[in-house]
C-alpha cells in the first residue's frame, strides 16, 4: 500500500517543530514501513526544514529498518535545501550504523 503524507499540512511552510516530526515518525512512518507499506513524504509548499527536524523524522527508520526504509520511504517535491538535508541525514546515518555494531 502507498501512503502519501502532505508535509505542508502537517509541519507548516518551514519544517522545524521536532515534536511534529517525532509524532509523525512514531504514529505514521514506522508502523507503515514495518508493515511493508510505501511512504511518500510530499514537501510541496514547504520552503525549508532544519536538520534536526529531518533527523527526528527519518533517522530512526533508517537505523531500525535499514533497507526497508531505503526502499519504501520516498520524498516528493522536496526543494534543493530539503533534498540536501535529507541526503546529509542519509549519509551520516549510514556512516554511523556499523560504528555502533549495528550493521
Amino acid at each position: 500500500m502507498k501512503k502519501i503524507i502532505n508535509m505542508r499540512r502537517v509541519a507548516g511552510a518551514f519544517a522545524e517543530n521536532k515534536d511534529i516530526a517525532k509524532k509523525l515518525r512514531i504514529e505514521k512512518i514506522m508502523p507503515a514501513l514495518s508493515k511493508g507499506d510505501e511512504i511518500i513524504l510530499d514537501f510541496d509548499g514547504v520552503s525549508g526544514a532544519t536538520q534536526s527536524f529531518i533527523h527526528a523524522l527519518i533517522s530512526d527508520p533508517i537505523r531500525e529498518l535499514k533497507n526497508v526504509a531505503f526502499d519504501n520511504l520516498a520524498y516528493k517535491n522536496a526543494n534543493d535545501d530539503i533534498r540536501e538535508i535529507i541526503s546529509i541525514v542519509y549519509r551520516y546515518m549510514q556512516e554511523s550504523l556499523d560504528g555502533n555494531g549495528e550493521s
Binding site: K18, R25, T50, Q51, S96
Partner: protein, 322 residues
C-alpha cells in the same frame, strides 16, 4: 548583578562585554549604559534580558544617564523587563526598522509562530529568510530541549543596512552546556564543554554515533559553519567559558575551510569570565557572503560526514601485531 552597555557592543567585543558583567547578588540587576553613545548587539541585549528575567522586573533597573541612542533599548523591548520607566517617547508606527525585539519563546508552538510571524519583520530576501529561519529554528529548539529552563529562549535580531548583515542573539538561563553534556561526555570544564558542543556528532543525549532518534549533535556545528562560510562572527558563552569564532579574513580568496575540531578555527576563547548560569549563542550573518542554503549545507555536510567516519574508525578493533 550589573550589566553595562558600552559604545562598542558588537560580537568582536563580546568578550569585553562578558568580562564586565557582575553576576554577584542574582536577586538584583542594575543596567547602565555609556553616557554619550550606546551600541547594543542582540547578544548583549538577550543576556541582559535573561538576567532581568532571573532577577524579576521589580528588582531590575536601568541606572544613570541613558543617551539618545539608548532609545534602541526601548525599541527592542528591554524597558518592558525593568522597573525603570522609559524616558523615550515616540509613536510605535515610527519604528519601521528591520528588527525583531526581545521575544520569549517557551514552547515548540511559540517557536513555530515566531518563525512564521517575526522573521518577516527583517524584510530579507527569500534566500536569506530561509537561512535565518534555519538558524533560529535550530538554536531555539536547542534551548527548549536541552536547557531545562522554565523561562524559555530569549531571542532578538537586527538587520544592519550599512554592513548588510543580520545579527541574532539567543539566550537562556537554564542548566548550561557543561551540565547538559556531563551525563555522557564528562567535559573537564566549561570551555571543554563548549568545544565539545561545537564538535559534529556530539549530543548530550547519547555517546552513540548517529545520535538518538531525536538528536544528532549537528545543530551548533552547522550554525558555526554557516557563520564561518559567510565570513561572520559566532559566539557561544556558558558558565565561565566564552568562545568566539573570528571573522574569516576577506583577503583570503575562496570559501573558508571548515573543520570538525573547533580548536582549528580562528577563534578566541576564555575560561575565566564571570560564570553565567545558562547559555548564550549569537551569530552575525553577512548577507553579502550568503550562498544558497543548500550550497552551505552541502559543504557543511561533507565535513560532518568525515568527522563521523573518522570517529567511527577510532572505535574499530586494531590488529594485534606481535
Amino acid at each position: 548583578m550589573r550589566v553595562h552597555f558600552s559604545n562598542q557592543g558588537n560580537l568582536r567585543n563580546f568578550k569585553s562585554f562578558v568580562a564586565s558583567l557582575d553576576l554577584s547578588h542574582p536577586e538584583k540587576l542594575e543596567i547602565s549604559t555609556h553616557n554619550k553613545w550606546v551600541t547594543v548587539h542582540p547578544a548583549n541585549l538577550v543576556v541582559a534580558a535573561a538576567l532581568a528575567i532571573q532577577a524579576g522586573k521589580k528588582n531590575t533597573e536601568i541606572i544613570g544617564e541613558v543617551p539618545e541612542t539608548g532609545r534602541y533599548l526601548d525599541r527592542m523591548g528591554l524597558y518592558d523587563l525593568v522597573k525603570t520607566a522609559s524616558p523615550f517617547v515616540y509613536h510605535r508606527k515610527e519604528e519601521a526598522g528591520r528588527f525583531v525585539p526581545i521575544k520569549i519563546i517557551k514552547t515548540a508552538e511559540d517557536q513555530s509562530r515566531f518563525i512564521t510571524d517575526m522573521i518577516p519583520l527583517l524584510h530579507l530576501s527569500e534566500k536569506n529568510t530561509i537561512v535565518v529561519k534555519y538558524i533560529i529554528g535550530e538554536l531555539v529548539r536547542n534551548v527548549l530541549e536541552h536547557s531545562f529552563t522554565e523561562n524559555g529562549a530569549i531571542v532578538a535580531a537586527q538587520y544592519y543596512k550599512k554592513t548588510n548583515r543580520v545579527s541574532i542573539g539567543i539566550c537562556d538561563n537554564g542548566i548550561g552546556i557543561w551540565k547538559s553534556l556531563n551525563t555522557f561526555w564528562h567535559p573537564k570544564n566549561d570551555i571543554d564543554a563548549l568545544k565539545l558542543a561545537l564538535t559534529p556528532g556530539i549530543t548530550g543525549t547519547t555517546r552513540k554515533e548517529g545520535g538518538t532518534a531525536e538528536n544528532a549533535g549537528a545543530g551548533l556545528f552547522f550554525i558555526k559553519s554557516i557563520a564561518k562560510i559567510t565570513r561572520s562572527y559566532f559566539v557561544i558563552y556558558s558558565g565561565s567559558a566564552e568562545y568566539t569564532l573570528l571573522k574569516h579574513d576577506k583577503r583570503i580568496k575562496g570559501s573558508p575551510r571548515l573543520y570538525a575540531d573547533p580548536n582549528r578555527d580562528p577563534h578566541s576563547e576564555t575560561n575565566k569570565v564571570p560564570s553565567f548560569q545558562g547559555t548564550l549563542v549569537a551569530v552575525d550573518i553577512s548577507l553579502d557572503e550568503t550562498h544558497e542554503l543548500n550550497e552551505l549545507l552541502a559543504s557543511i555536510g561533507e565535513v560532518y560526514d568525515k568527522a563521523i567516519r573518522e570517529r567511527k574508525r577510532e572505535k574499530y578493533r586494531k590488529p594485534r601485531f606481535i
